[in-house]
Subunit: 410 residues, 2 copies
Amino acid sequence: MRIDLDRERFEGTMAEQAAIGATDDGGLDRLALTDADREVRDWFVSKLEAAGLDVRIDAMGNTFGRREGVEEERPVLVGSHLDSQPKGGIYDGPLGVLAALECLRTVEDRGIETTRPIEIVNWTNEEGSRFQPAMMGSGVWAGAENLEEVYATTDRENKSVEEELDRIGYLGETPAEPGREYDAYLELHIEQGPLLERAEAQVGTVTGVVGLSWGELVFRGEPNHTGPTPMHLRGDALVAASDTVGAIRRLPTALGERTVATVGSLSVVPDSVNVIPGEARMTWDVRDPEDSVVETARERVLAEARAAAEREGVSLSHEDRLHVSSVAFADRCIEAVAAATEACGYDARRLPSGAGHDATHLAGVCDTGMVFAVSEEGISHSPAEYTSPEDCYAAANTLANATLELAGSE
Amino acid sequence: MRIDLDRERFEGTMAEQAAIGATDDGGLDRLALTDADREVRDWFVSKLEAAGLDVRIDAMGNTFGRREGVEEERPVLVGSHLDSQPKGGIYDGPLGVLAALECLRTVEDRGIETTRPIEIVNWTNEEGSRFQPAMMGSGVWAGAENLEEVYATTDRENKSVEEELDRIGYLGETPAEPGREYDAYLELHIEQGPLLERAEAQVGTVTGVVGLSWGELVFRGEPNHTGPTPMHLRGDALVAASDTVGAIRRLPTALGERTVATVGSLSVVPDSVNVIPGEARMTWDVRDPEDSVVETARERVLAEARAAAEREGVSLSHEDRLHVSSVAFADRCIEAVAAATEACGYDARRLPSGAGHDATHLAGVCDTGMVFAVSEEGISHSPAEYTSPEDCYAAANTLANATLELAGSE
């Protein structure tokens, strides 16, 4: 059975959510657990209720809407997140949540009975901008994060997750855990990369999530005056850091086709035009679908940093910040998504996700898959983030048909 | 005639000044025109008066103490500055001011009559930490800066130079200009570099001040997500900046024995571990005793930056910030300093100053020379700045004898 979503209604719903926490430049400022987040949650709950779904809110504020199935008790779960970065775009997670909503509305409109229950979900604080870590709600739910530690996490104004959940009315009573077996999880998200657009594809079938290693390097030298200190008597922390930036830029050429390696953050102390940098602090971020390649990349980052520090005569220390193993999605979920793209006649491409998503945590709980929507120029976390109406619809329709396939009907 | 300063009195005076604005770690926090600056100025004026000098304060707060000569009207001026960086050391400028004071005290004690008058000076705001530009008081006095513009300059709390001079009682009535011809200017300052210590010299005869070029480079690329953006589709502003840092590190090897080139400041936007830097902003600082080498170095910085930007596919803009021509000190001042080191039996070395000093401005007014004191490990602008009592005394004695030579006696 193939269904086609009501495109006009779907686009109307997207426009409604985009107005909540809207910024002047067409973006979103809807940080987790703020008033804007409360507003979009209240709006979302009203939509779930209007669609006849059974709403429940868990102790992390994760919000579910359930439609019963006729035989099997293990539900198919489908959703994403409604929170945004401080200067985020309107597609990011909301596209996935509202595509799931439109899927359930259409199934209801057409009186389709599914074998398994279908649940829709809005995960709390996927972005991690205000409270770290990112993917917080799904992390607790999937058992990857500790509820009490997460509750005690505070933002820059020293407000805790627990008090903010309570303040906005989303400290729910259902435990933040599956509570039952789930059959599968599907998530639609924008690609946040340029591969689909470059391939002129309409939609992406996601095969898994790359693994990653994050860490910080600190080089320490001598912060002397730039004028009177001859070149051969310097230990310039920034020179060592810059050498390492260049080495990290070249790493992927020796490692793998899909390896990416980036220095996103770099700062120097004292950061003055006429003082040789005495300290340079930089991050690394290396990713690959293969965990062994991630580990090799991390080792090479450290080797390059040590070589640069020795060359410049400065000291080096490092700290690992985050290690995430790669995830291979379940074949049956990948094939359900692929079958949906074929049934709808969309030009699709298979690719791994380069970014983490709530689906990363869900893969530890049940069979998981993802659909990617085209990201124009790969831009995300920016008001300039854009997915054309056609591409939004193609991704949403793919999600709906894959969900129906997994939930079973007729 | 050779004189020897009273070492015990000199060291006592140094200790007194070091207690005004002292920090817990043995440094100084005596920013220009603060209460601590007022306190050290009041103390200094009392010392000038006690030494029988004729005190005058000009419209920039520059503070002079005059001892008359017997024949010639053109004075020899000698001094430095008492203000400090926010985390400065106790030697920097104060050593030069108090060596000048000790010189005049000794001349007075011994009843020496000099041919020319000798004036001692404390220049206002040499450091430029609170109000820019640096070398402000001497700059106005020498006609290199405009008094009204300097008066209107504000600090971060929006307080102006004029109101702060007035508040601390140092908005003097004498015009901030020479007002007469000066015969010569001598300044003792710590080297702020490691050359004298490395050469195991006791004192430095300064031959001039290097020229310099300062500017800023801004690279702009695409601030995309580090995960989903393949390496070949990136325009990483930090990679281009880092390549340029490395090229600037190597520049001096192709230019000159005394060329120095530094990137002291570098920052990226948005500066997040998982976002490719969309903007990288960095400074350049190139110096050489030859102005033509400075100009070549500046051109090569820009050429390297352009090449790096093109390689990475990012845009580049640049802004020149400061150009200072090199200064060659007057032969007769250099020789007076050299003769003083010989007369005192000090192991001296000739070298140019890599940093700007009030003497840079004075060289536009009259014959100028400088004495350098040894800086341990070349450290300055830090509480760790250190010159041994022996080296302080050697530099002070050199200054005193060179001053007496220029002022003429017997």
